[in-house]
């Protein structure tokens, strides 16, 4: 059974310089109250890993606005001029990763694989500095696993075992990130008593989740 934390107590666990896997796609399926609590706490030097840098004032964009992020591993920054400005000013390092490669690298980190052999990026700038492995005459890039110190997830609902359900386009990176961090904190919209989520509806088994955020008041 997992006790539900207040956002400020969850944020207090995150040290400076932590690597955070943060669910969401342009803010949809991001743990918004956790993000707000981290901004309020002001913990800096963060590396964020996720689909994108969202927009200024939204989702993970708030962490960037507050100057807390020194490195981002994402597939897209095009809708966040503030992220681009900070990148050009040298305040923030950005590693751009093809979206499908990014999610597989996180999965590899989570399921104990040594890396990902993907055709994506072969013959492009993404190939630079990477091992190219030829298998039966086809070329693949060896992309390395990614893990986080923390995974911060949005979920539709949870039970107190920590089992999670997600909804619609708010799934995105969340179920994969749940596998790939030392500490997993989920922000469910609802928390149900144990036994209320049918086993077949569970998308992230509770054994992966370390902490739940209490529901919004």
């Amino acid at each position: 059974m997992k006790a539900a934390l207040k956002p400020e107590d969850a944020a207090a666990m995150i040290p400076e310089g932590a690597v955070l896997l943060i669910g969401g796609f342009m803010g949809v399926g991001s743990p918004h109250r956790l993000i707000d609590a981290i901004v309020a706490r002001g913990v800096s030097g963060l590396t964020i890993v996720g689909n994108d840098t969202c927009r200024p004032g939204q989702g993970v964009g708030k962490l960037i606005d507050a100057g807390l992020v020194t490195r981002a591993i994402v597939s897209h920054i095009g809708l966040n001029p503030e992220a681009q400005r900070r990148m050009i000013a040298g305040e923030m390092e950005i590693e751009l990763v093809p979206q499908g490669t990014l999610v597989e690298r996180i999965r590899a980190g989570g399921v104990g694989l040594g890396g990902v052999l993907t055709p994506t990026g072969v013959g492009t700038l993404v190939e630079e500095g990477k091992q190219v492995i030829e298998i039966d005459g086809q070329k693949f890039l060896l992309e390395k696993p990614i893990r986080g110190d923390f995974a911060l997830l949005d979920a539709r609902q949870a039970d107190y075992v920590g089992n999670l359900e997600y909804t619609l386009t708010a799934h995105n990176f969340n179920p994969i990130m749940a596998l790939a961090a030392d500490t997993v904190i989920a922000e469910p919209h609802h928390i149900l008593p144990v036994g209320m989520i049918p086993p077949d509806a569970v998308k992230t088994p509770g054994v992966l989740v370390d902490y739940l955020l209490e529901r919004a008041q």
Partner: protein, 217 residues
Amino acid sequence: MDAKEIIARRVARELSPGMLVNLGIGLPSMVASFVPDGLQVFFQAENGVIGLGARPPEGMEDRDLTDAGGGFVTAVPGAASIDSAMSFGLIRGGHLDMTVLGGLQVDEKGHLANWMVPGKMVPGMGGAMDLVTGARRVVVAMVHASRGEPKIVPECTLPLTAARRVSLIVTEMAVIEPTDEGLVLRETGPGVSAKDVVAATAARLIVPPDIPKMDLA
């Protein structure tokens, strides 16, 4: 009919029943408006839904159901939610019948560049590299020239999206098919002659004797 509508209408004619199709943000997303009546195709948004529907009525938006551009959408009956690993598994695994993307440049080898302009615009590749690498058919939907600069060029000067040859290029002036022999002019747009297309194209075009007009019904 403006250039974008011509392009979207013509691309819509590439659809066939039962296809799984990914439409990029911007111009490509307009294709959904011109699906022939009664034709059932499934639109996938790489952020996580198969069976994307139209924009919801005002006030009936769901913050957890958006397209890859972050715009509110609906889902059709029979839709399925998927996470990013499944989404890109479908894309890279050859399960996506067609992707429609915008382009900055396409060259005589049929190579596409659409994700960055070094020193100017570095939005990130998002899902584009996986889409171009993995989709069965890659259709580039773009205006023929940008501020007088031809976009169909002898060799891409911008970084490639993938080393793979795209399937078709659709502009308001022409439908062009990259082949082993080079770029073949297949159709011309409304009020445009083959000569006009050749004049507006920096790449060498193979021009067969009889070139039909685009069917935009």
